[in-house]
Symmetry: C2
């Protein structure tokens, strides 16, 4: 069959700063998925999009075209409304783990299709796989049943949702075209919209450990995604949140599961609790539930109950302790003072080097590797106090983890201790609706 | 062996408007030729170059890196100096045919490695192949011998010169990245510098029938190429010349050979003679020959002698008449007046549709197809006079040729006849050295 467009015309239009027509977008996304538009054509188009931008209408259409290459889930038969969350990725960002059962405990179903980690940011599935027996792969039927029975599911996104995105993301990764806001936004939102959630809250991270280093970029990404969700009929809001410092004290798969359980038990680090509740409120409000305070569900154990059922439903041994790493090193304070910098990127790269993360998507990760912050931003230390411990299953990784800590912040190091110092952290920077 | 650079870093540098280091350029061009840098990586880099530009130093280095992927010819053993010409391509541009023997007749050797036509612009090799027996493919040894014996050779560029360029050009063609001046300039100049000519004149066309539609773009391309040649030690100048109207009266392979022979016989259209002489003077001056007037060599038959020996040396039957097309249609004037427009693109596309050109490089071309302008720009016509004839070997192409004439200039048509009109044409717009 003759193709109804020519890739070169489309590339030239965008190259010149023009606006692509709906039909051009529909065709190029579909034809790329079919292999009619070649990788080298899509990569020059992606670069043109990165440098020339896209209008709101173009991004909405591009997202719809990506969704149209695959299946859509439909939760309309559920007895409860649905809400989901997406984080743009950070260090120590285990929020999905307490959040999904918490929101379920408040009466809204959470269908969390998650991914694995890459580079210095962890992946939710990697974290949950530290739990013995837990499995990420569910069929659509299993997912639906668990949503109805338990109210929350965290599982691997099937390959059926927006296959164009999977192909395009792999291409962008090797062609220097990842950092295009229209393409980032449509990549994330195509999967979330295809997933069929009724409400969505976006946790858009800003700071050294985030994909978006500046507030302006994060704000633009958040705005673009909220618009995309809204245009597609999903009630969407975004929180801009700080990622210059790791969330909580635990960075690493099993370490983060343990910290999440602390939060579900009513304890845990204040910042993790604060962000979990803030996101839970957004999700509940998006689903139309305004008469329930999620803080109560944390305090009275309902969230913990939902967690236990959610993990057990996917084969996880909910009472198994997290594995201890066989090799642990301590990093101690050299002077008295207040920690005025705990750099998220430094900690994230260290945890990755220790074995918690992966450089390529086929690499394995270690359940017990990571970094635990005994002291973190704004806390006082005395010389000789243990600031953090490094954990790994492979001792030859230890020097690489230590080097990553030292190399951070252009060699200034991950941690700064200032005598008599003080520091203020605004965790939730803004809300975008 | 570990690669010493990463393609994504290089792409991101150019994407951000940065300057590539010499070593990055050397590596990326070489690694692309070796297949280590993938097509999809080079295409996003090409788009970034197109939109972000390159410094003079980057373009020189890129050109040198392309040359380094292949062989270089060496004419230093010749008893004469060498000079070459390159045209950016036009309609009716047969100038190489009279020019090469003319310059040879004046004592400077001309090693013309030429290409074939694509789209509406003709190719020198296609034109010469209208001569029975003539062959384009010569070994390096045959080329050297002919240069020594005859002083001029027009032949196909071997695959040994700048193979990176061949691969890159094919990629740019399908990825919307042809129109990047740094890449156009380095593509042309890598082959001309590798070819080893001592002097070079560039005929940079401007106008509807040219690749560069505006004088500003043509000027930038000319400046870039002259700088590249100069930086590589080749005496390089450029003429900006008009390509809003076809050169001469003949457009089509055999038709243009016949017109070239007229010029070599001391006749022919004034514009073809003017441009041939202007370019010959540049080539001679570039080779240091300033005491010879090429007009004399045209007038006294020495250029014709060199032509006959040049064609015969490559097997061509120099006395064979050019073939007549079996199907000819006339286009007549509808009113009295002066021809105030004879659009180069209209005529070029018509000749192509009639069979003189090709859409894909593997397509054949017809020797006798084309358009002959019995009247052209600035000439008077009376209603009913034949303005042009269309020639083809395949009658079903005739309507397509006529349609191309009518469609030109956004539907206003190729030819405009204005009662009492007048028009001035500046053939050589500027000289850039």
């Amino acid at each position: 069959m003759a193709e109804r467009h020519d890739a070169v015309d489309i590339i030239k239009t965008k190259r010149g700063g023009g606006t692509l027509a709906d039909d051009q977008i529909d065709w190029v996304v579909d034809a790329y998925t079919r292999g009619v538009v070649a990788d080298e054509q899509m990569s020059s188009l992606a670069m043109a999009i990165l440098l020339r931008g896209m209008t709101r209408e173009e991004i909405s259409r591009w997202t719809a075209a990506m969704i149209a290459t695959g299946e859509r889930l439909d939760f309309s038969s559920l007895s409860r409304r649905t809400a989901d969350k997406h984080s743009t990725g950070g260090v120590g960002d285990k929020i999905t783990l307490p959040l999904a059962p918490l929101v379920a405990a408040c009466g809204v179903a959470v269908p969390q299709l998650s991914g694995r980690g890459l580079g210095h940011t962890g992946g939710t599935l990697d974290k949950l796989e530290a739990i013995p027996g837990w499995r990420a792969a569910l069929s659509n039927e299993e997912m639906m049943r668990q949503l109805e029975d338990v109210g929350a599911v965290i599982c691997a996104a099937g390959s059926g949702l927006a296959p164009a995105d999977k192909k395009l993301y792999a291409l962008r990764d090797v062609t220097g075209t990842v950092e295009a806001i229209p393409l980032i936004a449509s990549s994330i939102m195509s999967k979330k919209i295809a997933e069929g959630t009724g409400a969505l809250v976006l946790d858009v991270k800003v700071g050294t450990g985030a994909f978006m280093k500046t507030e302006a970029d994060a704000r633009e990404l958040a705005r673009t995604m909220v618009d995309l969700g809204t245009d597609a009929g999903v009630v969407t809001t975004a929180l801009l949140t700080d990622m210059s410092t790791p969330l909580g004290r635990a960075c690493g798969n099993g370490l983060e599961v343990a910290e999440s359980v602390e939060v579900l038990a009513g304890g845990g680090p204040a910042d993790v609790v604060e962000l979990t509740l803030a996101l839970a409120r957004e999700m509940l409000a998006g689903a139309g539930v305004t008469d329930v305070d999620p803080a109560d569900a944390l305090a009275d154990g309902r969230a913990m109950d939902a967690w236990r059922r959610m993990i057990a439903a996917q084969g996880g041994d909910v009472d198994a302790p997290m594995p201890d790493a066989p090799h642990v090193e301590e990093v101690r304070a050299e002077a008295d003072g207040v920690i005025t910098r705990m750099d998220a990127m430094g900690v994230g790269v260290a945890a990755w080097r220790l074995g918690a993360g992966r450089a390529r998507k086929e690499d394995p990760v270690q359940a017990s590797a990571g970094v635990y912050l005994h002291r973190t931003l704004g806390e006082e230390v005395k010389a000789g106090d243990v600031i953090m411990t490094l954990h790994t299953e492979t001792p030859e990784r230890m020097p690489r983890g230590l080097a990553a800590l030292a190399d951070a912040c252009d060699g200034a190091g991950t941690v700064e201790v200032t005598p008599g110092g003080s520091v203020e952290r605004r965790l939730v920077i803004d809300r975008i609706a």
